[in-house]
């Protein structure tokens, strides 16, 4: 029998029990839809996160004090005070790090801010005027930090939109003084509302010159981070080597194992986060895949019922010349068509829901969330559902094909 007619026969067999066929494939539909949904949303989340990191610029390098954590239980920052002003001075020298175009120290901490009886717990960032460019921060009112503010250890602060609302309400904030750690800081700029989408939520932060933060607020003489901007992307590898060399010399380190700092490039960060989100997506997809197996067992069950029910038809076809192979192919194809149809419906539903959720996230939460149709997952969904059809259809189909024609014909 030709494939075309086997397919026609299988379609006819399925059409004879429309509602039963539909219910049977429900398990496959749900399973495939869940996988598509998870993978699609996972990709969306990954793109969102990676997009923001890349938004920081591929030309930036972060120097972090302490030893690079080697695992989860490793305490990372044992030498957390290792980066100090003298390192900053050394790194700025052109003979040490020729490709460095900018360097910015960062210190941060959780602090309480108060204004006329209102208090608000915020994250305080100490940086320089370069933060504006690196983090894309432009005050909607007032100005950002200047080089002078940093040099003169000025008592000035830029506040995020939420901080402004919490402390001042509708009242004007510009020029007012807020109190942090017994220090009165004059508000010179207010940042526009950015929403939840950013990797760093600057709405709930305030920014001061790092010198002010070190001297008056934290009382420390070291940095939490040094952010380096390189002249161009091709210089990154060389610059990482130059920085490492400079800092090792300055800190008298001969054994690389004993480094008291480590360097993170954007690429590292992208890779790390990419691995984490991919692992998470895969895990969720694997959980969803369990429903596919349950669906497959449902298919096998119904196919067995169908084979028993159609014993007489099988006998007739054999009497008229169908070989065991013809019967096997017919029933196997029915199973594969059931699961294949389930797979296609599942992919469509999964993609639809993923699109709706993406749309909701991007409008309701004003996230930069893009819908992406996961072609690889769709292909996988088709292959997996087809395979399930073969695996779970084989036993019933074989049972059908081995029926003795006369016993099958006599079956009532």
């Amino acid at each position: 029998m030709t494939l075309k007619h086997t397919i026609n026969t299988a379609i006819k067999g399925l059409k004879a029990h429309k509602s039963r066929s539909a219910l049977t494939i429900l398990g496959i539909v749900i399973g495939v839809a869940a996988i598509i949904l998870v993978v699609s949303l996972g990709e969306g989340a990954q793109n969102l996160i990676l997009g923001q990191i890349q938004g920081l610029g591929a030309k930036t390098i972060t120097i972090i004090p302490g030893r690079q954590p080697s695992g989860l239980s490793d305490s990372a920052q044992i030498f957390s005070d290792s980066l100090k002003e003298r390192d900053l001075v050394l790194l700025k020298r052109r003979e040490n790090v020729p490709a460095l175009s900018n360097i910015m120290p960062i210190v941060f901490g959780g602090e309480s801010a108060a204004y006329q009886g209102e208090a608000y717990r915020l994250t305080l960032f100490g940086g320089t005027e370069l933060m504006a460019e690196i983090f894309d921060l432009f005050p909607s009112e007032g100005i950002f930090l200047t080089e002078d503010d940093v040099k003169s250890v000025a008592n000035v602060v830029i506040i995020g939109a939420t901080v402004k609302e919490e402390l001042f309400g509708p009242a004007p904030a510009l020029g007012e003084k807020i109190r942090i750690k017994d220090r009165n800081l004059r508000v010179i700029g207010i940042l526009p509302k950015k929403g939840q989408g950013s990797l760093f939520n600057f709405d709930e932060m305030a920014i001061v010159p790092y010198t002010t933060m070190q001297k008056y607020i934290l009382g420390i003489n070291y940095f939490h981070r040094l952010v380096v901007e390189v002249e161009n992307e091709n210089e990154i590898t060389r610059t990482v080597a130059d920085i490492t060399q400079t800092l090792r010399t300055a800190h008298n380190i001969t054994d690389p194992e004993k480094d008291d700092f480590f360097i993170q490039t954007q690429e590292d960060l992208v890779n790390t986060l990419g691995t984490v989100t991919t692992a998470l997506t895969m895990f969720l997809a694997a959980v969803a895949a369990i429903s596919l197996i349950v669906g497959g067992i449902g298919i096998m069950n119904i196919m067995l019922v169908s084979v028993t029910e159609r014993t007489k038809e099988i006998g007739l076809r054999k009497a008229l010349g169908a070989t065991n192979k013809d019967i096997l192919t017919q029933f196997l194809l029915e199973a594969v068509m059931l699961t294949g149809t389930g797979g296609i419906i599942g992919i469509s539903l999964g993609a639809l829901f993923s699109f709706l959720i993406s749309f909701g996230l991007s409008t309701a939460l004003s996230l930069d969330w893009s819908f992406s149709f996961p072609f690889s997952a769709a292909l996988l969904g088709i292959i997996v559902s087809g395979t399930i059809g073969i695996v779970f259809g084989l036993y019933p189909a074989r049972k059908a094909s081995l029926k003795s024609p006369i016993e099958a014909l006599r079956y009532e």
Binding site: A319, L320, A322, T323, D326
Partner: protein, 239 residues
């Protein structure tokens, strides 16, 4: 060469400890073009014999040669092929595919044949014409009367132009008028078209439309003789 030659065929069913000998040494042969009726009371083993002759069941002992070749020498694929190409079956219970038209039912054996698809409609239409059902060709089989259903089954048996047609109590579920029509078609196929026909029945009246009657009793051939006065179309109505 005989088309069918059986020697001492036996068939034993074993269920638990109980052995039932349905056939106990059946020997006879059928020449091409013969119209043979196999008669016997129910339980005599005549249906089992037909199933063995039609490759639908296996005998336990003895030898069965189909066109000079022992059937033990056929593979399962070859048996299917011979069933498709050289044999046609007409069953008492019609055994038509439900939810299908007359044309679809008649085309069914062609699906498993070597005939090119372009000829299927032509072959099926011709077979349907020969049983006088052209006006019902696109009817769903559930809309047909019993007699019409059996004529569809005959058309299906004919569609591959087989040498041999097996009819297992073809009139058993029909009223006498429809039954008569079915037997007339079989007789016509034998005499005008040269098909070899093996008809199973328990009615003498029906059997007498054949040229030869083999009587089976208790799994053995009780008698095997030609029909003295073969009934012709219309004979039944005169009586």
């Amino acid at each position: 060469m005989s088309i069918i030659e059986t020697r001492n065929i036996t068939k034993t069913y074993v269920e638990g400890d109980v052995e039932t000998n349905v056939l106990r040494g059946v020997s006879f042969s059928v020449e091409p073009g013969e119209f043979v009726a196999i008669m016997g009371p129910s339980g005599s083993g005549k249906s089992t014999l037909l199933h063995i002759l039609g490759f639908l069941d296996h005998h336990t002992g003895g030898t069965y040669q189909f066109k000079g070749k022992t059937i033990d020498d056929y593979t399962s694929e070859e048996l299917s092929h011979v069933r498709n190409k050289s044999m046609g079956f007409v069953f008492q219970a019609f055994n038509l595919l439900a939810r299908s038209t007359v044309l679809e039912n008649v085309k069914l054996p062609l699906l498993y044949s070597d005939e090119p698809e372009s000829r299927w409609d032509e072959l099926a239409t011709r077979a349907i014409e020969s049983v006088g059902l052209s006006h019902r060709i696109n009817y769903d089989v559930s809309q047909l009367s019993g007699g019409e259903k059996q004529r569809v089954a005959i058309a299906r048996a004919l569609v591959n132009n087989p040498e041999l047609i097996f009819a297992d109590e073809p009139t058993g579920n029909l009223d006498s008028k429809s039954g008569e029509a079915v037997i007339e078609i079989l007789q016509h196929l034998s005499e005008q078209k040269g098909h070899t026909i093996i008809l199973i029945t328990h009615e003498t009246h029906t059997a007498e439309h054949a040229r030869r009657i083999i009587r089976i009793m208790d799994g053995q051939v009780a008698s095997d003789e030609p029909v003295a006065h073969q009934r012709k179309p219309g004979d039944g109505k005169l009586k």
